[in-house]
Amino acid sequence: MSETKEIHIPLGPSPEKWDLLSKGIDPFGDQMILQMGPQHPATHGVLRLELKTDGEVVTKITPYIGYLHRCFEKVAESVTYPQVIPYTERMDYLAGMNMALSYVLAVEKLREIEVNDRVETLRVLVCELNRIASHCVAIGTFALDIGAWTPLLYLFQVREHILDLLEELSGARMLFNYIRIGGLAHDIPTGWIDKVREFCTYMDPKIPELNGLLSYNKIYIERLAHVGVMSQDVALQYGITGPNLRATGFDYDMRRDAPYSGYEKYDFQPQIGAGEQGTPGDCWDRYIVRVREMEESLKIIRQACDRMPEGDVKETIPKSLRKMPEGEVYVTTEAPRGELGIYLVSDGTDKPYRVKARSGAYCSVAAVPAISLGGLIADLVAIVASIDIVLGEVDR
């Protein structure tokens, strides 16, 4: 594990005051309640943060969620098993494939369906493509919140390529409904794998370009290093998963440590934050972990293209899902914003009795007050951007 460094919080109240502040006691007077959101450019949707500020120093944060609540879990109880898939994709709309995969794996586990190798490989391929697209938005909006407009546009070009690929595959650009229970909606079009390979060659120089443009920019590092430090303890207490957890230096990746859908066949390295520019687990680490994860995803995509086996993607799609076995399953996968766990209870009918989604972004929001108290408003903006939330996934 990495050694701990001293944390510098600029202009913040002294550590003794933190105790008082965290209890909501106001040692200074003259504090101001500030509503950040739900309509605020930096809350990535409709998150509302109620801030208590002393000048520019944030002394208390209360996140309020639910502005994008769409009753996914309740709706899922009243539709049939295949009909739930589109709803799952609307949770984290930036990574629809990953969302659907988790649910589909849960149903498959319940029904005990073994899909063939081609289906697994294709699922990994589209999920990793989608992960890159999702990280592009995450990094782009992060930079935007720090005041750098330009990287967003460059990253959206990359994302545009991926969305084009996925559109060719599934007919939709964001809400694909491509991964189905027991297989896929249809096989890939001819020449699609070559296009993916082309994309990989296109993508290769993009990450060094991004590093030159943004990652090692002096101002950017100054803004992010030592800011919003999330210690491993805090991360584990709040159930943080995914890139945010790995940024603290905790080496844990579902794809490697509890492989699903054949991830054990791929050679890749989960990226962890090491406090290169500041403290381990600061905003810059959370940023760079995502950048490097895109490279790793690219590796996986290349391997998937190379080993693409033959087979029928609809081979194991069940004829009827009217009679499901009774019981309950819990499946988690590594989604771009942390672990997505689907807890499924079946009562034997054609509709799920209960669906519970455990999303990574929800836990991340909960941790915001713990890591940003005593910072400035600008730091809070950086922190909210760095934990990369999608409100659709938080509120479901």
Partner: protein
């Protein structure tokens, strides 16, 4: 026949004032278009292309019309008098700077003998206008923007003034025209290249500090979109918002024009044989180049944090400016 002689001065001033307001508006229009184009090309896209055919050159006109006919919203809880007054104050503060900009030897609003000092002084109006706008909006984000802006502008006024003092010391006058006249005869006579490296440092400090003074990136904290929504003009819309906008672009022009005047030889060409090209073209060209650099920086760099901003001003710019001033003073004394 009425003798025109007594009225000539008056007519000239009126024409000049009207001309300057027109120029400012046209420049602001052009600058919005340029800003979008620069942003577009930096971001690997094209920017406006549709309105008006060639590279969307009519886009600013369309925007202006849109802004003019847009509903002017005043929040119910705002302090209406001050809310209405503030944009004009900011606009006047920005416009007043144009009075002493020497477009050419004889094309200047007024060749005040305190020209440089005057520009620094009228900028103060903008600070008050921004504080007024931020407070009158009755919006906490606006208030934050205004407080940041005022603190920032007051802090950065000091390095700006200290760096401007260096060419003033070298020229021995504060009159814009005389300062430019001292730089005639080729770019090696420009103040930015004389007394190397002091004046170059002064130029760099002036340019960066003036970026902060006109709230441009990477010092655009007062209007930092992602933090403070839109800073002190969050609540403004329509024509009043356009006033702030005009003032912002006017300020960009003024600070660039002052840099061009006192450091880059004003209306003089870099080589004497190029002086056949009229002075105003050189002057506006140099200024436009600096405006372009401002845009370039805006679309490239992330934004600083408020404490870093103050750090840069008080602990980097200020000591360097003072040391610089002292050394140039010594240089001037020893040389002459």
């Amino acid at each position: 026949m009425i003798a025109l002689e007594p009225y000539l001065d008056l007519i000239i001033s009126v024409v000049y004032v009207v001309g300057i307001v027109l120029f400012l508006s046209l420049f602001a229009l052009f600058a919005t278009w340029l800003e979008r184009k620069v942003a577009g090309h930096i971001q690997d896209r094209l920017g406006p292309m549709e309105t008006g055919g060639w590279h969307g050159w009519l886009q600013p006109i369309a925007d202006a019309i849109k802004l003019l006919i847009k509903e002017d919203i005043i929040p119910a809880a705002a302090d209406k008098k001050l809310f209405k007054l503030a944009p004009y104050l900011v606009f006047i503060g920005s416009l007043a700077g144009f009075a002493v900009l020497p477009f050419a030897a004889n094309l200047i609003g007024s060749d005040l003998n305190i020209g440089v000092y005057y520009v620094i002084a009228v900028t103060s109006l903008v600070v008050i206008g921004i504080l007024m706008a931020g407070w009158a909006s009755n919006n906490k984000w606006s208030m934050y923007g205004a407080m940041r802006s005022a603190a920032q502008m007051i802090s950065y006024e000091i390095p700006v003034a200290l760096s401007l003092l260096i060419p003033v010391m070298m020229a021995g006058t504060m009159s814009m025209v005389e300062i430019v006249d001292n730089q005639a005869g080729g770019f090696w006579n420009w103040y930015v290249f004389r007394t190397m490296p002091f004046s170059l440092i002064a130029f760099v400090i002036y340019f960066w500090a003036s970026l902060a003074e006109v709230n441009r990136a990477p010092f655009d904290l007062p209007e930092a979109e992602s933090e403070l929504v839109a800073g002190y003009f969050t609540e403004y819309s329509g024509i009043r918002w356009a006033m702030f906008f005009l003032a912002e672009y006017g300020d960009m022009f003024v600070v660039s024009a002052i840099a061009a005047t006192v450091f880059l030889g004003g209306w003089y060409a870099p080589f004497p044989f190029l002086d056949i090209i009229p002075g105003p073209i050189w002057f506006i060209g140099k200024t436009a180049f600096l405006v372009f650099v401002q845009m370039w920086l805006r679309w490239t760099l992330p934004r600083l944090r408020v404490d870093q901003l103050m750090y840069v001003c008080w602990k980097i710019f200020l000591p360097f400016s003072f040391a610089n001033l002292l050394l140039v003073g010594l240089w001037v004394v020893l040389k002459g």
